[in-house]
Amino acid sequence: MNDRYQLNKELAQMLKGGVIMDVTTPEQAKIAEAAGACAVMALERIPADIRAAGGVSRMSDPAMIKGIQEAVSIPVMAKCRIGHFAEAQILEAIEIDYIDESEVLSPADDVYHIDKTKFRVPFVCGAKDLGEALRRIAEGAAMIRTKGEPGTGDVVQAVRHMRKMQSEIARLTSMREDELYEAAKQLQVPYDLVQYVHENGKLPVVNFAAGGVATPADAALMMQLGAEGVFVGSGIFRSGDPAKRAAAIVKAVTNYNDPSVLAEVSASLGEAMVGINAQEIALLMAERGK
């Protein structure tokens, strides 16, 4: 296997048990780092505002991303549109630590995702189920996250995607070896990835939860459902006391199995983001890019 891809998967392993936070300014990035974020996602508008503003949503200004890279010492990620390999080339040129080929931005290509094997920087991609996850990995993704429903503050879809993925993994694990060929056909993915999941009972890359995580309890729920870490988008800087909420979610991810710690960190956090119920919205971003 290509060593660069291996090193990129290994960076995701170092992020495990951590929280990756969306930030829009160097000041927010510093707050996130001080609160214990293991990485930040630099973007011009948080998903809640992208959803509210509507219109075409694109890669952030490289100058803005560089400002955040200079402000913090933790890894900095940034989003490009699905299929927009030129945006990805620009992000690689500014030495971003991870590119999120993200359904939160407007898709640039309604057929093809980026051929991520052509890049030296790592990619994280969203997936609603095992088939999507393995297709993205076949294209070169070094990390996977659930799609959730960004900007809503409603965790229901992240839960649905994580449960679906875990149950499909369990199903592959319990199959006879001669059934794996048909499984690969049904999932529309390469056979060797199906075989890996069958033998190891997990994805070949790190798998985080993303979309709608707004409270320490949401984060703990996703970890107990099998996430290896959590992305928090609008949930932090859309709340009453971002620094406190951010630190609380970080602690909740570490001690996701200890209700007494969760109770302690959940107390007196101020107002959570208001949120929108996922079934009340017309535009499902998770349906972008399968």
């Binding site: 060593d3 291996q6 090193l7 990129n8 290994e10 960076l11 392993q13 170092m14 992020l15 495990k16 048990g17 951590g18 780092e33 001080a34 609160a35 214990g36 974020a37 293991c38 990485a39 890279q69 010492s73 933790i74 890894p75 030495e95 971003i96 630590d97 991870y98 030296r120 920087v121 790592p122 630190a247 970080v250 602690k251 991810v253 570490t254 001690n255 200890d258 710690v261």
Partner: protein
């Protein structure tokens, strides 16, 4: 019993390695998990995250005391940063290892690399450097330098403390873990 600091990062990979070697271990997420620990592994991950959690969870002072009392410790990557007595441009965290380290010393992810080299008397050891630190200077003469790669110190030992800039937990090679388990507790 080996304690693996499990507040954030690649602790599961160290646990897998100890499983293979048949060494008993426990994961440390809170103060009460420190009971009965005879040696300690500080894994890779984000050192700023781990530092914040060590403070918030009340682990910093007890672990610092355990290290001072002579408990064997192995720190890998972020773990090396936590152990260093001096960190360039930052406050020290646990301390105990008289070296000065620099974080992200090879730059961003595009600067991550792997090489094969010698760690003390261990030959052909695969070293994985992920946004790695290195040791800028050794602050006491009795710190043993175990590896120099491209002119940079990447592995040191001081008495019962092993500090590595790379990730033995990401390899299939368990010789460094075996070496660490041979330290008398």
């Amino acid at each position: 019993m080996v304690g693996i600091l499990a507040v954030q990062g690649a602790f599961a990979e160290h646990a897998q390695m100890l499983d293979r070697l048949g060494a008993a271990y426990t994961c440390i997420r809170q103060k009460r998990d420190l009971v009965g620990i005879e040696r300690l592994i500080l894994p890779g991950g984000e050192s700023t995250t781990q530092r914040r959690l060590l403070c918030d969870l009340g682990l910093l002072v007890p672990i610092r005391e355990m290290i001072a009392s002579g408990m064997p410790v192995m720190g890998t990557c972020a773990g090396l940063i936590l152990l260093a007595d001096e960190v360039a441009d930052e406050e020290r965290c646990l301390g105990g290892l008289p070296v000065r380290v620099r974080r992200n010393a090879y730059g961003r992810q595009l600067g991550s690399f792997s090489v094969v080299g010698e760690i003390g008397s261990i030959n052909d050891y695969p070293m994985r450097f992920i946004r790695a630190p290195y040791v800028e200077t050794v602050l006491q003469p009795d710190v043993q330098v175990l590896n120099i790669t491209d002119g940079r110190i990447t592995a040191v030992q001081y008495k019962h403390i092993l500090g590595l800039a790379f990730h033995p937990e990401l390899t299939e090679d368990d010789r460094l873990h075996q070496y660490f388990l041979s330290f008398s507790a």
